[in-house]
């Protein structure tokens, strides 16, 4: 009797384990939890995990997607590659939501993602160079390329009648790519770049950089850097020395920590951030609040939710958790034809797919992927008013 009890206990234990195994599917969430954008990534990750929570127990035959977080560091390609390698080989994730910064994303895609045939959907890597990497169709992004952001920034400046700017960019793929695309667009619109100089992140003192930038004689300074890093240092030093007091920021610089650090001097600063005020964006805020997230409106949060949602829907459409099968279905669920799906409607989308229907995932950021698998891109034009980033209009 005792033996029987023991045996059945063991058996029960084993089946529970098997049950858990069979009904949990792992998805990697690789973002820079340490490093230059560490103040943004926790919210991005929880937005992605929100999509997983929403579909818990509803994917395929009652499966739940669970997130495995990993640190991309944003800057260290070797560390990011090692972290992604671990996700794929030892955690056995079916897909990767990430990475975040363009440099590490390229490294992961080239070294680990594409060779292993794992789908990556990045919510925030925006370098134009990622459009043309050899990804064999495994790399997607819900963030638009900076080629578009450069154009939007140039348009905004033209509308405001600003014709001469100094540009400083963080010395990496993201900064360089954006500075180049902005320069091309701005010059085409008749503007003049007084000076374009790189800055290194993580230095204590940026007075030499600011001195050189201001010597070129422009009144406006465009900062294409990171909010918790050199970008902040450049702005602080510019204000301290009186070199510049009008700033133009790109997406990496938009964050509340900047306003908290700098204060009222930042009023009047203009910037751009991928996003829209579509029905999906508003719906996302509701879903995020209802889901108990700390914030419902942060940089790249909608894109992160969408990145995870796309992979979950593709998994359902493929009818399996096979990595290659997921890859084949991403474009199908992201684009028309099909029923439009907004945030909070993932369960409905799964039902439609189960019954053989088609969906066109709109999501929080108005997802439509171009033929290379990246968001076409709408941008919010922002302005700092009374210590807050306010959306002026959508471009």
């Amino acid at each position: 009797m005792k033996k029987l009890l023991l045996a059945s206990t063991i058996l029960a234990g084993m089946t529970t384990a098997a049950f858990a195994d069979g009904h949990e599917v792992k998805m990697g969430v690789i973002l820079g939890f340490t490093g230059p954008i560490e103040s943004l990534t926790p919210d991005m990750a929880s937005a992605a995990e929100l999509a997983m929570k929403e579909t818990a127990g509803k994917v395929l035959d009652g499966k739940t997607i669970v997130a495995v977080r990993a640190d991309s560091t944003c800057t260290d390609a070797a560390a990011a590659t090692a972290a992604a390698e671990k996700l794929i080989t030892s955690d056995g994730v079916v897909g990767i939501m990430g990475a975040d910064c363009s440099g590490v994303t390229t490294a992961i895609a080239n070294n680990v993602g594409v060779p292993n045939g794992v789908v990556m959907v990045s919510p925030s890597a925006t370098s134009p160079a990622l459009t043309t990497i050899e990804d064999k169709g495994f790399f997607f992004r819900t963030a638009p390329s900076d080629a578009r952001q450069g154009q939007v920034l140039a348009d905004i400046l033209k509308d405001k009648g600003i014709t001469k700017v100094a540009v400083t960019f963080t010395n990496n793929d993201y900064g360089k790519g954006l500075a180049d695309s902005f320069a091309t667009a701005f010059k085409a619109a008749g503007g003049e770049i007084a000076i374009s100089a790189a800055h290194e992140d993580g230095k204590a003192d940026y007075s030499a950089e600011v001195g050189a930038l201001s010597a070129a004689g422009a009144e406006h300074l465009a900062v294409f850097g990171y909010v918790d890093q050199g970008g902040k240092g450049i702005i602080q030093t510019s204000l301290d020395t009186g070199a510049f007091d009008k700033f133009i920021l790109a997406d990496g610089m938009i964050g509340e920590s900047l306003i908290k650090a700098i204060g009222a001097d930042l009023n009047g600063t203009i910037g751009t951030l991928p996003g829209s005020d579509s029905a999906g964006a508003a719906k996302f805020k509701e879903v995020a609040t209802a889901g108990g997230l700390k914030k419902n409106d942060g940089p790249f949060m909608p894109e992160s939710y969408d990145a995870a949602a796309l992979m979950i829907l593709a998994m359902q459409a493929a009818g399996s958790t096979d990595r290659a099968a997921i890859q084949g279905k991403i474009m199908d669920v992201a684009n028309a034809p099909g029923e439009k799906i907004l945030p909070g409607e993932l369960a409905k989308a799964l039902e439609i797919l189960k019954s053989g229907g088609q969906v066109d995932y709109e999501g929080a950021s108005n997802v439509t992927l171009t033929d290379v698998g990246e968001a076409a891109g709408s941008y919010k034009e922002l302005e700092v008013k009374d210590g807050k980033f306010e959306t002026i209009k959508i471009r």
Binding site: A197, A204, A208, A212, S214, A215, G217, D240, G242
Partner: protein, 337 residues
């Protein structure tokens, strides 16, 4: 005339004041290196991390003081916490000497072995600092940030160019002057100071005349730790504290000590300013400055920048190499103290 004043203000704002501040910070750091070299006869690679350690203790004490509501506004609270930082660093330095360096002195090890030991100490301190306060940026400046604000200066003078003087910059320069004066008075006028100089000149002769080597070594470590902590805190107040940047400061500080003539306190100060001004002046773009001075037609097209700011650190390297090649003893003959 107005153009001339504009040019002068521009130069002061972007070259003179930052250079003076940075130079003072380097000079204080280089003084510590030079003292240790003159008396203990080895190059202390752990000096940058000693700065980081001292600054860390001061920051922790500052937070504690801020927590209890103590403030000496408009001055930064860190000044009040500074003695705690200096004391802790001095104790730490003496403990290191007892545990590591004393052994090598007793066995009369060649200087290179002491240098290598100091590299080891450097890594340990590096780790301790990161372990306690973390690798991130810490800003601990409070109180009034500016003495002269750029915009206020423009409005008051009617010039095109603004001049900003941060209170941390003024504090740095004043503190450096006071400290250097005190140090020279100590070395030249007090009994202990004189015995240190004697020890540095000729160790055997000093020992024969009854100078206690233990006392000289102890005082040297306390002075070096104190100077390092103060330099670190001033640098942190002016810029920001991050363990890695403090480690990087090692290079310009060594360059300063060697350029001035290693073992020579006046040389360390001179070297500090030479290195600081070269870094700032070589990487500054002079376009606007020259445009103010010359007739409109001669205004330069380019940026008039000798080296891109990316190469700032390379400047200290270049100075170091050139000095070692051309004048290995330094600007002032590197006669020990």
């Amino acid at each position: 005339m107005i153009d001339f004043l504009n040019a002068l203000t521009l130069f002061a704002n972007f070259v003179l004041i930052p250079g003076l501040t940075y130079g003072s910070q380097l000079a204080l750091g280089a003084l510590g290196i030079t003292l240790l070299y003159g008396i203990l006869r080895f190059a202390n690679f752990a000096h940058g991390d000693t700065m980081a350690f001292g600054t860390m203790v001061t920051i922790l004490a500052t937070w504690w003081l801020q927590g209890t509501g103590v403030s000496i506004a408009p001055l930064p609270t860190a000044l009040l916490a500074l003695p705690i930082g200096v004391a802790a660093t001095a104790i730490f330095a003496l403990a290191t000497d007892r545990l590591v360096y004393r052994h090598y002195r007793e066995v009369k090890a060649p200087p290179i072995r002491l240098v290598m030991a100091s590299v080891g100490v450097m890594f340990v301190m590096n780790g301790i600092v990161r372990f306690i306060i973390g690798p991130n940026d810490q800003s601990f400046m409070d109180g009034e940030r500016f003495i002269v604000k750029a915009r206020a200066f423009k409005n008051a003078t009617g010039l095109n160019e603004g001049l900003a003087i941060k209170s941390s910059q003024m504090l740095t320069v004043v503190m450096a002057m006071v400290l250097v004066a005190l140090l020279f008075w100590f070395l030249n006028r007090t009994r202990t100071g004189k015995s240190m100089r004697a020890f540095s000149d000729n160790e055997d002769l000093a020992l024969l005349s009854g100078i206690s080597p233990q006392k000289v070594v102890t005082v040297t470590w306390i002075l070096a730790a104190g100077l390092a902590t103060i330099a670190g805190v001033l640098y942190g107040l002016d810029k920001s504290f991050k363990p890695f940047t403090y480690f990087q400061l090692l290079l310009p500080m060594f360059a300063a000590a060697i350029v001035g003539g290693v073992g020579h306190p006046v040389g360390a100060i001179l070297g500090g300013f030479v290195v600081a001004f070269s870094e700032v002046a070589v990487t500054y773009a002079y376009k606007k400055f020259i445009t103010y001075l010359v007739p409109v037609d001669y205004a330069p097209e380019g940026l008039m920048q000798l080296l891109s700011t990316d190469y700032k650190f390379a400047v200290s390297f270049i100075i170091l190499v050139v000095v070692l090649l051309v004048r290995p003893t330094g600007l002032l003959k590197g006669k020990v103290i």
